[in-house]
């Protein structure tokens, strides 16, 4: 086992990890940074994000408006002080990206353009064609090359966090190409490992989105917050789950059922108008759109396809020229994967899991309760998304909190010296042993793919768009059974160099722990809020009992223990979460009440 000592170790080199690394390097070039990623940075799943990044830009927009959209979008489960901080730093981060070369799409006068996005009252989403995540990731990666203090460990898989006496001291990483274990001792550890959508059957995520960092933090005693909130993106490709960006709807696309009817007007999002209107119809928030699909399906008004029931995303009225100019990637996806020309036919779509709102408990500076650990990006829960994330808030989140994480971790590292290396190495050796048991086993009996499929199916059944007690309990039981069977997983591959089956097995273990946290948190939330909707007597939001975060605590072989914690409410008391015409009415009432207060 090799030893490498640094000041800040960052696990995950997507948008958040890279931004954090740059922040550390800029704050103090003498600090040594280890940037550890199981894939080359440009493969990180940030690359697939399409729509854009939000920040208050136009003169008639305000931080208060962005704050309110976010808090209402999150169904009042957001940490409002953190949201305040977030919206106030958003613009400077996007300008920073522009200074670093990000090719933001422009207006004719040369200023950055903004577009409408679901749940946002005023257009504030910066975008780079329909590949914003791609351009942001490549800009960050290429910019990171400027800083010699960032040492990258590309294609190094994180096997475990090293925690001694409550304090996080580094990570154990596996060099995938050779099977060499590397003990990376650090004074601060930042986890930026992304989401966990792969625990579900239909998802937009890449193969690497398996909740690694969440599971590791969880196992080391850090609570996972609000895990029951899982975002379904309403317009995804049947079969693969690949994403058709929200920008399709921002540009004016319609969602039609089998009668060619814009059904969203039946679900409180109307009235239907020919051009897009913010926070109405197809620009409503994602959870409401996915729920509308589910209801249409129950009513038999969806269209049966070879990969499930679909609705139609109609972009024909945009015309080929506009489609190729504003939505070129969508055009390509539809034509190549589905053989559908969006200028001539509607695209079949259905909801698939896209984002996991919950994650590692983190305060407004991204710090975990235990010293030495920070988390940022989709893997963390700093508290800005609440019960439902608004599109284009998460790309901005990577930047605002990536910077905070880097600065917090740097400050912490600068205040300490390294702990006893021999103790850290001993911890690493123990973790190494556990990993080797998996690959050396010859008497197992379960195949990885079988367990993974059963996990994904049960999560889809019990933890889907709508939840009920019995299916949730069944899912919890099934997950417990899968965890037991996982102890007997058998690999075909016992080699050491580029053994990706070994990695899949370890990832499955992470996913099972994360799935359990999700399912049990969902079971214990006996209300409906945001993306967590129940049909078993808990159809309404219950602020009296459940205006609280859920916290999942790891209990080893036992099921996770769920507790609840208060939400920080500063200046937006819980109101009605309404969109469409009803939303405009509610907004007017709210503003009148506010003016009355002043």
């Amino acid at each position: 086992m090799d030893l490498y000592q640094c000041d800040v170790a960052i696990v995950g080199a997507g948008g958040a990890g890279l931004r954090a690394a740059i922040a550390v390097a800029e704050r103090d070039p003498r600090l040594r940074i280890a940037l550890i990623s199981k894939v080359y940075p440009m493969r990180s799943h940030t690359v697939a994000a399409e729509g854009g990044a939000a920040a208050v830009t136009q003169a008639h927009d305000s931080l208060e408006a962005h704050f309110h959209d976010t808090v209402a979008g999150g169904d009042w489960l957001c940490e409002q002080d953190v949201v305040d901080d977030f919206v106030s730093h958003a613009r400077e981060e996007l300008v920073q990206m522009e200074h670093w070369g990000c090719p933001w799409s422009r207006k004719d006068d040369g200023h950055v353009n903004v577009r409408a996005f679901g749940g946002m009252k005023i257009e504030r989403t910066w975008f780079a064609a329909d590949k914003t995540g791609f351009h942001m990731l490549h800009t960050l990666f290429q910019t990171s090359i400027k800083y010699p203090s960032i040492r990258r460990f590309d294609e190094h898989f994180c096997i475990d966090l090293l925690q001694d006496d409550g304090r996080f001291q580094g990570v154990l990483a596996l060099e995938i190409a050779t099977g060499t274990f590397r003990c990376i001792q650090a004074k601060s550890v930042i986890i930026a490992t992304g989401g966990a959508g792969r625990v579900f059957r239909e998802n937009t995520n890449g193969g690497i989105v398996t909740g690694d960092g969440r599971a590791l933090a969880f196992r080391h005693g850090v609570p996972l917050r609000d895990m029951e909130f899982v975002q379904y993106h309403p317009t995804c490709m049947p079969g693969t789950g690949l994403l058709f960006t929200e920008a399709c709807r921002g540009e004016g696309g319609f969602l039609l059922n089998k009668d060619g009817y814009r059904y969203l007007q039946d679900y409180g999002l109307g009235p239907a108008e020919p051009t897009p209107r913010n926070k109405a119809m197809e620009l409503g928030p994602r959870d409401r759109l996915s729920q509308a699909y589910w209801h249409e399906k129950q009513k038999g008004r969806t269209i049966q396809g070879p990969h499930g029931d679909v609705v139609h995303l109609d972009l024909r009225h945009l015309g080929e020229k506009k489609l190729r100019e504003r939505l070129p990637q969508i055009y390509e996806l539809a034509v190549e994967y589905l053989g559908v020309d969006p200028a001539k036919s509607p695209i079949p779509v259905l909801p698939a899991v896209h984002y996991t709102m919950g994650g590692i408990l983190a305060d407004g500076n991204t710090a975990a309760p235990m010293p030495g650990l920070y988390s940022v990006g989709e893997c963390s829960s700093v508290g800005i998304h609440g019960a439902n994330r608004l599109g284009s808030n998460s790309l901005t989140e990577l930047l605002v909190f990536g910077k905070k994480a880097g600065e917090s971790a740097a400050a912490h590292a600068a205040s300490l010296s390294h702990a006893d290396t021999s103790r850290v190495e001993a911890l690493a050796q123990a973790a190494l042993g556990c990993a080797r048991t998996l690959v050396d086993r010859h008497d197992g009996r379960e195949r990885i793919a079988t367990l993974r499929r059963e996990m994904a199916q049960t999560m889809e059944d019990g933890c889907g768009i709508y939840r009920s007690e019995q299916p949730l309990k069944a899912t919890c039981d099934k997950l417990a059974e899968l965890k037991e069977r996982y102890r007997h997983v058998q690999l075909d591959d016992h080699s050491t160099a580029w053994n990706t089956e070994w990695l899949l097995a370890i990832e499955l273990g992470y996913q099972l722990d994360v799935a359990q946290a999700m399912a049990h948190s969902a079971l214990e939330r006996r209300e409906s809020r945001g993306s967590h909707q129940r049909l078993d007597g808990y159809e309404e939001r219950d602020d009296a009992q459940f205006l609280k975060h859920s916290l999942a605590h790891y209990a080893g072989n036992d099921v996770p223990r769920i507790s609840h914690a208060a939400v920080t409410i500063t200046h937006s008391p819980p109101g009605t979460r309404a969109y469409g015409a009803a939303g405009e009415q509610a907004e007017a009432v709210r503003l009148a009440a506010e003016q009355h207060h002043d």
Binding site: S44, A48, V95, K107, I145, L242, L338, L491, S495
Partner: protein, 254 residues
Amino acid sequence: MTEARAWPEQVEIDVLRYRPETDDHPVWQRYTVPFDVDMSVLQALQHIKDEDDGTLSFRWSCRMAICGSCGMMINGNPALSCKTFVRDLLPGPVRIEALAHFPIERDLVVAIDGFVKKLESVKPYLIPEHPRALSDGERLQTPEQLEHFEQFSSCINCLLCYAACPQFGLDPEFTGPGALALLHRYNADSRDAGRAQRMAVLNAEQGVWSCTAVGYCSVVCPKGVDPANAVNQNKVNSAVDYFLRFVTNRREQS
């Protein structure tokens, strides 16, 4: 797309295997996979790994041709396995091999650290003329100025262009189409002023001058980056720079 035709039940997939711990050289191995009309080559490989042979190693992630992980040779052509459909390769057997011109680490995984070093060597970051405060807001750039470089910024680093480039195959030190396209992207960005600092890479023997305009790189590029254009238009720039340096005694920056 799916006309009524008789699709087969199964298809054969031949994969070039290589296990560094046990094999002296690569060997072909045949698998049989159930056929589905919208199955991609990647899905076929995943089926093999999940159900038949967990020892088959290959890179993949996004499944939508944006992460650049899954480049490989499919029936002799450089292609992304997530975007290549088995129905277009029938009746089979489909021959799959690691990306050409790169050393094979294992099975379909090639060593790309050489490329990453080249990417780092072209100074792929904005070098502005004057620093600018965040409070001054964004630098202005018209849609026309953006058009000059946007295409070259679309590279997903999939390396299909390197597999298509015989000059790179013959000389692995050639900086190559992808890295040079990225270099050009920054030179062509109206906000950048670092052209002089990147000249050394362009002018080198293994810069643009190793390119003989085969043009295959641009044909195989899945994102329309047109690296052949990026490289060849810079031959003029390189020649002009050389001439000017010769005439004015300007020293080459590095």
